[in-house]
């Protein structure tokens, strides 16, 4: 039997036990990271049972996708995991490119890796700030948002948008990065390791922060696999698996990086793992900057990739292609693909079924937070109610991608 079967055998929350109380946390609760609702059954202050209720942000994005052309879905993917838009764009575009059999120029691949790692920093900074704030260390929030602001400014210079970037497109990237892009990224990552030290100085030695996290929310390796937990949460439980290293995509095999592992499986381990991941991401961004190849940022596929603005105004074919793509989309060969990537939160996977027309027949998003949510009960059971806040903060969920 699987060790995590406890989640299945728990009795329904009826409130029939005299001394037990049903407590409703959320959907409007400052520590629920969005609109998560937890129905908690407590015995005094001990959690007996915990049931996540979701769907408050359900907007039917998967259904909407079926009515859109393939290129029109890219902006929708931004809005799933709105804290790491580039990871969503990348996953969707890789899936469609796989279906099309499209080769992406090397420069575009390297830029995609650079942006995916920059997004990881962005996402981990928000996690660190909000997690520390939940625990009561308010200062760190201001510091992490200071650095996040610089990343958002880089994104804004790149795509014109701070958060909903839609910069990674089917067949490459939306446009050439601005002239000062590489200098700004270089400047950012030159100082960023010191900033991580700064956060670490504020938190790692802090006895309150340490006591709130150590030994709290323990998830064993077997439970992590049984409950579908992925990413830093799974690696904090001692499962050594990272899609970037083990099933590389978009040129990740050309990068050298370490995958941090911890065996404790508690909130503290997950905190340390993400701090190390940030340092590794900085190294990968440096490698991407150093080795950035010359070349094009879009695939040579005029019927799929929108032409440059300049060409569109001077060349007849480019104008025709632009008109055709925008009004009719492009047909994608029938078939089904699943593309997995390592998003900041874990294994993200997009499943696309095509029937050979210009609109996808079915799009499904496997988002890491959705599965991670199933493990909350295992982590919180038998612990104090206050630990629920620490656990929800430490697993780094985004409700936008859970509810879709």
């Amino acid at each position: 039997m699987n060790p995590a079967n406890t989640i299945l055998e728990a009795p329904a929350a009826t409130g029939s036990h005299d001394q037990h109380m049903i407590l409703n946390m959320g959907p409007q609760h400052p520590a629920m990271h969005g609109v998560l609702r937890l129905v908690v059954e407590i015995d005094g202050e001990i959690v007996v049972r915990l049931q996540p209720e979701i769907g408050y942000l359900h907007t039917g994005i998967e259904k909407t996708c079926e009515a859109k052309f393939y290129h029109q879905i890219v902006p929708l993917t931004d809005r799933l995991d709105y804290l790491s838009p580039m990871a969503n764009n990348l996953c969707y575009c890789l899936a469609v490119e796989k279906l099309l059999g499209l080769e992406i120029p090397e420069k575009a691949q390297w830029l995609r890796v650079l942006l995916a790692e920059l997004t990881r920093l962005n996402s981990h900074l928000i996690w660190l700030g909000t997690h520390a704030m939940d625990i009561g260390a308010l200062t760190v929030f201001l510091y992490t948002f200071r650095e996040r602001e610089e990343i958002l400014r880089i994104f804004e210079g790149l795509s014109g948008q701070r958060m909903m970037t839609s910069y990674i497109r089917i067949g490459g990237l939306a446009m050439e990065p601005p002239l000062d892009f590489f200098d700004r990224v270089q400047g950012f990552i030159r100082t960023f390791p010191e900033k991580i030290d700064e956060y670490s100085n504020l938190l790692t030695g802090n006895p309150i922060f340490r006591n709130r996290l150590k030994g709290v929310g323990i998830l064993s390796a077997a439970d992590a696999i049984a409950l579908g937990v992925t990413g830093p949460n799974m690696r904090g439980s001692g499962v050594d698996f990272d899609l970037r290293r083990d099933m590389p995509y978009s040129g990740y095999e050309k990068f050298q990086f370490k995958v941090p592992i911890a065996t404790e499986g508690d909130c503290w381990a997950r905190y340390l793992i993400r701090l190390i991941e940030m340092r590794e991401s900085v190294k990968m961004i440096q490698q991407a900057l150093d080795g950035m190849p010359e070349g094009l940022i879009k695939a040579d596929a005029p019927k799929i990739v929108l032409p440059d603005r300049e060409k569109m105004k001077t060349q007849m074919e480019a104008l025709i292609h632009h008109f055709k793509i925008v009004t009719e989309g492009f047909a994608v060969p029938a078939g089904e693909v699943y593309q997995g990537i390592e998003s900041p939160r874990g294994q993200m996977g997009y499943y696309i079924v095509s029937d050979g027309t210009a609109k996808p027949y079915r799009v499904h998003f496997r988002n890491p937070s959705f599965a991670t949510l199933q493990a909350i009960e295992t982590m919180c059971k038998g612990r104090m109610l206050a630990d629920v806040i620490a656990v929800v903060g430490s697993i780094d969920i985004v409700l936008g991608e859970i509810d879709r």
């Binding site: 769907g55 294994q347 996977g349």
Partner: protein, 168 residues
Amino acid sequence: MSASVKDNLIGKAAVLEGLPEHPAVRAILAWKPEALEDAKFDHGELTLTIASDKIRSAAATVQAAGYNFFEDVTAVDWFPSSPRFQLSYHIVSHPYKERIRLRVLVDGEAPSVESITSVWPSANFYEREVFDLFGIRFEGHPDLRRIMMPDEWQGHPLRKDYPVEGYR
């Protein structure tokens, strides 16, 4: 793996010939060859179509063969074709660093299939989602309730015959 990513193997015979050493194919054949209805290998992904009444044991079989991590299950509505629904299970192997897809075809009349939550508890939310949005029942699921839509909702929105405009 003997076949490169460029090769497409369509049909059960082609896959059995092209990928005889594949651990998932071997495990399924060793367990119950007749349960494997169809197979294909395209876009670098192996798809095994399993008889709809045997999915739970098939999942347990590939789990024992090293495909230890359940990633995802979702459905596709092929309305008005028959069989109407297709369920796609995506399973990752940590030791082989590889992903397979198990496919099950389900009829449109009162669609129902065995739950695999006893093999992977992580299928719990995913099966609830498929139940909610497609109306496919999972027998043996511990808590088959709607997950995205309100509890009193009528209909299953991701079905192809679900109206997308106007008043309901």
